[in-house]
């Protein structure tokens, strides 16, 4: 076998292989240069969307600072807090309130339905009465006692909430409807709680939830002093009747009723001389107590109560539910 006869075919093989590989390469290069879309890497606009960034998705929670500060009076006052008809508020919930009253030199009588003295006797000699979210009616005798107490110079605050669904805790959550019960008592002073809750979905006008509305003062005075805005967590609005009632706080603009979606000027804190009505009961206890200016508002209310003077009110009527027929 000659060298030439071997070299020639090998040369042809090499040339042919080179042509095939070069051709393949050329084809692949051509195909590679065809549009293939963007590489699926991380550098694609939109994968750190602006709406996800803290400056847009972040919220401004109201700082929970400030403290309750009740004005002292010349003769230390006694405040009666009636939570007998409230399912939401307990004695423990009111500890910050009772603490601040104590620090101001006042004393507190909490009526929670356990070994209470007679209602009239409890009121006798006290300066103010605070009624928190009563879910049932006051009997005639107690209403008369409150009327006599107010007439004698005592101050009263009723914190009532509209009808709402309440979820009970425990092993099995129970759902029930709770309504404002002391309608007759409140109506005696030209006020009652409205039929619907209030809400506001505008991010800038609520306390991080549509149900936590803001309210602002509408006039000066002892109830609004030092308050910029308050927040109510379970707020309704106050329906008023007659000219004796003055509005002290209204819900901020854009606040609506939850069922009928009425956007109106909704009064939430009103006053009829010695009686103040607040359409929310949540602001008196944590976690709402120190939100926004709630602590200043609460301090104002407690100071208002302490300034009352029931003078010669001797109790008398209103010995409790047991002796009087309950009305609704």
């Amino acid at each position: 076998m000659s060298d030439r006869s071997l070299v020639q075919p090998i040369a042809v093989l090499i040339v042919a292989l080179t042509v095939v590989l070069a051709g393949t390469f050329a084809v692949s290069a051509l195909v590679g240069s065809a549009p293939t879309g963007s590489p699926d890497g991380a550098n694609i606009e939109g994968q750190s969307p602006a709406q996800y960034h803290p400056e847009t998705a972040g919220i401004d929670a109201d700082p929970e600072d400030g403290e309750l500060s009740v004005e002292p009076t010349q003769d230390d006052s006694r405040i009666v807090i009636d939570i007998r008809r409230s399912s939401e508020t307990t004695r423990a919930d009111l500890e910050p309130v009772t603490e601040s009253l104590f620090e101001a030199g006042h004393s507190v009588t909490v009526l929670d339905g356990e070994d209470d003295e007679a209602f009239g006797d409890a009121l006798s000699g006290s300066a103010g009465l605070l009624i928190v979210q009563p879910a049932s009616a006051y009997p005639d005798g107690e209403r008369d006692a409150i009327q006599g107490y107010i007439d004698a110079g005592g101050h009263a605050i009723i914190a009532g909430e509209p009808t709402q669904t309440q979820v009970g805790g425990g092993l099995f959550a129970s759902v029930s409807q709770v309504s404002f019960g002391a309608t007759e008592l409140a109506q005696g002073y030209g006020v009652t709680v409205g039929s619907e809750m209030l809400y506001n979905v505008n991010d800038g006008s609520n306390d991080n939830n549509f149900k936590s509305i803001y309210a602002t003062p509408t006039r000066g005075g002892v109830l609004t002093e030092g308050v910029d805005k308050v927040t109510f967590d379970r707020s309704g609005y106050v329906a008023t009747s007659g000219d004796d009632v003055t509005v002290h706080y209204t819900a901020v603009e854009g606040t609506k009723t939850i069922d009928t979606r009425r956007s109106d000027t909704h009064p939430v804190v009103v006053r009829n001389d010695s009686v103040v009505f607040v359409a929310d009961g949540s602001f008196l206890s944590q976690p709402e107590l120190y939100d926004a200016d709630n602590e200043v508002f609460t301090s104002n209310l407690l100071s208002f109560l302490a300034r009352g003077d029931s003078g010669n009110f001797g109790g008398g009527a209103g010995t409790g539910q047991g002796t009087d027929e309950e009305t609704t």
Partner: protein, 328 residues
């Protein structure tokens, strides 16, 4: 003498082999070339066919079921494949989803958003694309609905055992914690976190649909669900149409597609149809992703304290109690 022997030997060889050595070498060369060509041809064929022969494709990707981890992972993977497949020119998302946990809903949004940045994406709402389901389709270039399709329900709910929230402080006394916020559920914090997620969600909807929506941001935040006809009017959707209309629209939007010169490919994954917002107890292997049931992930019976959902619906427990008021 020696020469004669060689010549004689050669003649003998020539008489045994009918072809010359050179020709034999060429036979070897051709054989090798055929073998090499057989190996290389399919590669070259594939390259050539993808470059020129195939029609561009509209890929129809289907999500039927909740936007839970398993479903969203499946859809995200398919979207990724579509992005990396040069023949896919546009994507139609066929969706019937009432949403699910917020985390995978956000994942779905990001995956669709990335795809929409690279090619036309048209959504077709088969049944519902509500809450987390709408979160997923909101980056689409167009949204097609039927009169019975449900879209909207923009918002987030948090599911936390009520007893856990209320008793967190008491219960925490039974174990030692490293800090005051460790293992605590605070109602204020829950609300703030809910609000953050809500803002990201609403911000996403406003970013992508702001120009089309006739509703204000507040009206979107109300969280109402709309049927198809109404959605077309208020901008939650663009057109009434069927899946074919959506495919045509997607093809029309693609620069790669000329007229009706395109193919349609359907991807229907076996998705998990879990409408319950309970924790998805999945145990399956999908590609390189393995899902385990969560309940027995650890030895102890720690419960995830809170879960955030973007769903159109109410918790199963609440309905079981006979309370069907979803607004509260």
């Amino acid at each position: 003498m020696v020469y004669e022997f060689v010549v004689q030997d050669r003649r003998m060889a020539d008489s045994r082999w009918p072809i010359s050595e050179t020709r034999a070498a060429y036979v070897v060369v051709v054989t090798v070339l055929i073998v090499l060509a057989a190996v290389a041809a399919p590669i070259v064929w594939n390259l050539g066919s993808t470059a020129a022969a195939d029609n561009p494709t509209v890929q129809v990707i289907t999500l039927r079921g909740g936007t839970n981890d398993a479903n969203v992972n499946a859809v995200s993977n398919t979207l990724r494949e579509a992005r990396n497949n040069d023949s896919v020119a546009a994507v139609v998302l066929r969706v019937d989803s009432p949403g699910g946990p917020v985390a995978p809903s956000e994942e779905l949004y990001l995956a669709v958003n990335r795809t929409a940045a690279e090619m036309p994406v048209v959504a077709y709402v088969e049944g519902s694309a509500a809450s987390g389901g709408y979160y997923g389709i909101v980056p689409a270039d167009e949204i097609y609905v039927k009169p019975s399709s449900t879209v909207g329900s923009i918002g987030v709910i948090v599911q936390a055992p009520l007893s856990a929230v209320e008793q967190a402080e008491q219960v925490s006394g039974t174990f030692v914690r490293s800090g005051p916020d460790k293992a605590q559920i605070d109602q204020d914090r829950l609300r703030e976190d809910l609000e953050r997620l809500q803002r990201a969600f609403v911000g996403t909807v406003m970013t992508h649909r702001g120009d089309e929506l006739t509703l204000t941001r507040e009206e979107v935040e109300n969280g109402r669900a709309y049927l198809g006809t109404q959605a077309v009017q208020n901008g939650f959707a663009d057109r009434i149409g069927d899946i074919e209309a959506a495919i045509e629209a997607a093809a029309g939007r693609s620069e790669q597609i000329d007229g009706d010169q395109y193919d349609v490919a359907y991807t229907t994954r076996q998705v998990q149809v879990t409408l319950s917002i309970q924790a998805a107890a999945v145990e399956e292997v999908d590609g390189n992703t393995i899902y385990y049931t969560e309940a027995d992930a650890g030895e102890s019976e720690f419960v995830r304290p809170v879960r955030y959902y973007a769903v159109w619906g109410v918790p199963v427990e609440a309905t079981a109690e006979g309370e069907d008021d979803a607004n509260e």
